[in-house]
């Protein structure tokens, strides 16, 4: 498989590394996601918080529609009404943090976005200070389980039947600051221990 790394808009050279799935054009600020054997343009977002950061942690951001077909309990119906049919879900996009810490990170981010605690705005990539190394197809498979966990936190999912449709996909950059002993996630006001960082 051979893919020319040139912007489809201005024909400038795309910036990216081997093992990465996100490439960007410095000239016209378009980002491209490598999905299978083709590069397709993708929207990138960041939170509108003004806090400083040193690292960007990329996450896949999905707009999903959930059609609930069978509810097994009253509680499930209530939760379905609470979270709505259309919501945003988040899936990890990088592997540099120990997966043990990811579960909460994803659900907390999705919660903050769906409850409008985290306002998003388009982000223009200027520097290569991130690494998106989770394959898009892996993220797509994890999305379903992330939704199940999201729902299961509020009500038992037994007997619930639903169809999940992805409307749009983008990349969300979480802001993080690396301190001596912790990773501070300013968007979520959370801290992770420094040993959560992995080299792969």
């Amino acid at each position: 498989m051979i893919i020319p790394l040139r912007c489809k808009n201005c024909k400038d050279i795309l910036t990216g590394d081997i093992g990465d799935y996100l490439f960007f054009c410095r000239e016209c600020s378009i980002s491209y996601l490598l999905n299978g054997d083709r590069l397709s343009p993708v929207n990138t977002f960041e939170s509108d918080s003004v806090e400083g950061y040193t690292h960007l942690l990329p996450l896949y951001l999905y707009d999903i529609t959930v059609d609930y077909t069978v509810f097994a309990s009253k509680r499930q119906e209530e939760v379905a009404q609470l979270i709505g049919r259309e919501l945003k879900m988040v899936v990890r996009g990088f592997t540099t943090i120990d997966p043990v810490y990811f579960g909460d990170l994803e659900l907390a981010t999705a919660d903050s976005i769906n409850q409008n605690k985290l306002q998003l705005r388009p982000y223009t990539i200027r520097d290569k200070n991130f690494r998106l190394n989770v394959r898009p197809d892996v993220a797509e498979r994890l999305l379903r389980y992330n939704f199940m966990r999201y729902f299961d936190r509020r009500a038992d999912i037994t007997g619930l039947k639903y169809n999940l449709t992805t409307n749009a996909m983008g990349i969300l950059f979480l802001k993080a600051t690396l301190k001596e002993k912790t990773i501070y996630l300013s968007d979520l006001k959370k801290e992770l221990p420094s040993y959560a960082i992995l080299s792969i």
Partner: protein
Amino acid sequence: MYLKTKTIKCPECGSPVPCGNFSEISTCSHCNTPLLIKIEGDNPEYFIKANIDLMDTTAILISRLRHFLIAGDFIKNSRIITRSILCIPFYYITGYRCGEHIIEETDRYTDERRIDTKVLQSSFKYSTLASRLPGLNKLNINLEKVISDGVPLIPAGNFNHNRNEILIRPDALIDPESFITHQFNTHNEKIKSDIIIENCVVIYYPIIRVVLKYRTNIYHFSIDGLNGDILYGIAPESINIRFIPMAVSAFFTSLFSGGIINFISKSILSGAFAIWIMIIPVFISFIMTVFFFIYVAYIFYKNHGEIVIVGNRIEVNKLNIPEETKVERFFKPIFNFMTKAAKKNQSRFR
């Protein structure tokens, strides 16, 4: 650098672009287009650079083996035949095990059946050997720990092939996906799990293989290229020098134990006179046995040397004994007498 053996066509201008066995970003020399070349079914490959130099292996072997043999004899009679760094491939696989676990419960009082579904999502990190070369399965390497320790991983494209460093390619028959599926096979119908492999990386781990000839035998050693631990190898043992004191001490031990049995049996069967007749040789044999045990320990102590490497030379220094203890001072004339007697009668033993 590795050799670029294949050529592909640039999709922009059609001119040939050389490429090798690894995925890489290359540039077309004709139209300067950067090209992302992905080898089908190719996992990213990294290698770990050995911290141990090949020339250090002599020092490692001697320092580790000095407890197993008489140092001087080993240095005199051993010869390293070959030594090379083998980069052994491992699959380092990370991913997720997702699914549902259906738990059925029956209420004790109402007999009502309840079904609870737990959503599973756990991550895994596994490493497995990617080659079936004979002898490699005996190597016990904790790759997960090495990676979590932050050892730098260098892309395999930068590997410098030479006579002493050999990169062993992964075996095509070993499938990392089936290995992981096998690991999580629970045979439990109530657990529906989905294995998602996130990242499968080939990591080449440096193992220094030393082939050594000591006296008439050939020994193979595998040394960890990162920390110098001997991972596999059988230590040569020189028993020639130890044989005489061991045989003598064994003789007196048997004499002593035989004396005890004799003493007990006589004391039961006969009167007090017979006991006193027996007690003298038993006591003498006991004293001699104790002395011979101490003597054997002394010989081991004397022959145990510290090995010092000075430039290209290897020297054996006798252990620096700080001060003579009271016990040593007491036993020294007896040891000297025994050593002299042993030397005098050495020809007879031969």
